[in-house]
């Protein structure tokens, strides 16, 4: 008779985390930046499958890793936000509660499921000057194990997050105009490509615009990005 091997919970968690990290590291990065007019979300993404999406009026989602997994999480977020906004009011849909819900769900998935999620996500909320108490932007990053952190100014997820973040740390300035923020975002993403030029067509660019009425999320076309960058 063979005895089942004893594997310590620490070992299981470590193995799962290593597996998830490997999966995420293979993917390309996403940069989220606060700028003068709101929040900019930028991904290196040559395909037409979106990594960035709208959740609600002031909230956007970005995910890296396995597409099927983070896209599922995006849809869960949309359903959560729409039901909440419908049963209370549109102003009651806040990113903090959403990020917490993600954290709970992803943490639970990490503990329960033999295969952890190979994703990392960011949910960002743009401030609204007309909503007292909600004038500031909020950015939350949730990891594959449900670990949650809030960020000021900028946040990077994906393969080369640390190196890209250090680039932002050195170059980020508050209240950049959109054009400057786009340039900084592109330069940051290019670091993951050893500084090789990233064509506009290979970028997925979305913004949360502070001054837009109600739905503040907008996807920028390649032409628009080119126009703003002036290249």
């Amino acid at each position: 008779m063979t005895l089942p091997f004893y594997v310590s919970p620490e070992q299981i968690a470590q193995d799962k985390a290593e597996f998830a990290r490997k999966g995420i590291a293979r993917g390309k990065s996403i940069v989220v930046l606060e700028h003068e007019g709101g929040i900019l979300l930028m991904a290196e993404n040559p395909s037409t499958l979106s990594k960035i999406g709208e959740i609600y009026d002031r909230i956007a989602f970005a995910g890296v890793g396995k597409f099927s997994e983070f896209d599922q999480l995006r849809k869960v977020g949309v359903r959560y936000a729409d039901v909440k906004g419908y049963s209370y009011s549109r102003e009651d849909v806040l990113v903090k509660a959403l990020a917490n819900a993600y954290s709970q769900a992803m943490g639970e998935e990490f503990a329960r499921s033999p295969k952890p999620l190979e994703v990392e996500i960011v949910v960002a909320e743009v401030g609204d000057d007309r909503l007292a108490g909600h004038e500031r932007n909020a950015i939350y990053r949730v990891g594959f194990d449900g670990s949650i952190s809030d960020h000021r100014s900028y946040c990077v997820i994906g393969g080369n997050a640390e190196s890209l973040e250090s680039h932002l740390q050195a170059n980020f300035r508050p209240n950049l105009p959109l054009g400057e923020a786009l340039k900084l975002g592109r330069a940051t993403l290019e670091r993951a490509q050893n500084g090789n030029r990233l064509e506009v067509e290979k970028l997925e660019v979305c913004v949360l615009e502070r001054t837009r009425p109600t739905r503040k999320f907008r996807r920028l076309s390649a032409d628009e990005v080119r126009g703003i960058l002036g290249s």
Binding site: V76, V78, V83, S87, A105
Partner: protein, 272 residues
């Protein structure tokens, strides 16, 4: 995690509510917020009812207008009820019938269209939107049988066909596309008669707004349930135009001026 992950995995918000949040919709498949079996016979009349709304095609798209009155039997329930609701950037719903379920349905439809767009990554076609509304009205049939009728107009700009389109509905969810103009609610007969004289194919925007003001004045003149233009309180009809660029509300000032001119023309006619 309860409340976060849903059983329903499709792209319809209305279905999501029905499957995962049934407490947010009516029990007998009735209108959201009103249980189908909860209305005593005869009680429906004492629930506020909206009256006259109209829609017409015009040169660049469509125009949708509605008076502001809601009545309970013979009493005024509200003088400044909004009955025309933009449901997204290129479509509008105008309501007539039991105000509560009507307004709720417009609210659900707005979330429905937005929800679909976010989940699928592309908006519904105008016809798809009209069809979805049809299904929602059909769900309301048990409540409609007890007097909580929802009979809206739906209109918008079809970006694929590059034209304005409009639909009327019956209580069973029957959907009828109209090629010219349509009105619904208690004063609709008079509004339609008025539009019959003033509407013509390719009618320009300014002329269409005038025709709408005149039709609402005519409806209020003949039907006691339709609210006229209330100059003393400054309550004017809601009139929206919708074209390729989106939806625009006609300003109170413009409506006031048109109303003044309509009255002037009729006053001189009366005194002659």
């Amino acid at each position: 995690m309860p409340g976060f992950r849903s059983t329903y995995q499709g792209s319809s918000f209305f279905e999501l509510l029905r499957v995962d949040h049934p407490h947010l919709v009516a029990q007998a498949g009735g209108a959201p917020g009103l249980a189908g079996g909860a209305v005593a016979p005869g009680a429906a009349a004492s629930i506020p009812h909206g009256t006259t709304v109209l829609a017409m095609k015009c040169a660049e798209g469509v125009l949708v207008a509605g008076d502001r009155l809601a009545t309970e039997n013979y009493r005024v329930a509200s003088r400044d009820l909004q009955k025309v609701f933009p449901t997204d950037d290129h479509s509008l719903m105008a309501i007539a019938g039991a105000a509560g379920p009507c307004i709720e349905m417009a609210r659900v439809l707005r979330v429905e269209l937005e929800h679909y767009e976010k989940i699928e990554g592309a908006p519904l076609e105008l016809e798809g939107k009209a069809n979805k509304l049809s299904q929602m009205i059909r769900q309301n049939l048990p409540a409609a049988m007890q007097g909580l009728v929802v009979v809206p107009l739906f209109a918008g700009y079809d970006r694929r066909r590059k034209t304005g389109r409009l639909w009327k509905y019956d209580v069973t969810g029957g959907r009828y596309e109209e090629a010219e103009y349509e009105a619904t609610g208690s004063g609709s007969l008079y509004a339609r008669e008025s539009l019959k004289k003033s509407w013509r194919p390719g009618i320009a925007r300014d002329e269409a707004v005038r025709a709408a003001v005149e039709a609402l004045v005519d409806a209020a003149d003949e039907d006691r349930g339709t609210g006229g233009i209330d100059v003393t309180r400054g309550i004017y009809p809601n009139i929206f135009t919708c074209n390729a660029q989106g939806i625009q509300e006609v300003s109170k000032e413009e409506i006031a001026e048109l109303h003044r001119r309509v009255l002037e023309a009729r006053t001189s006619r009366g005194s002659a």
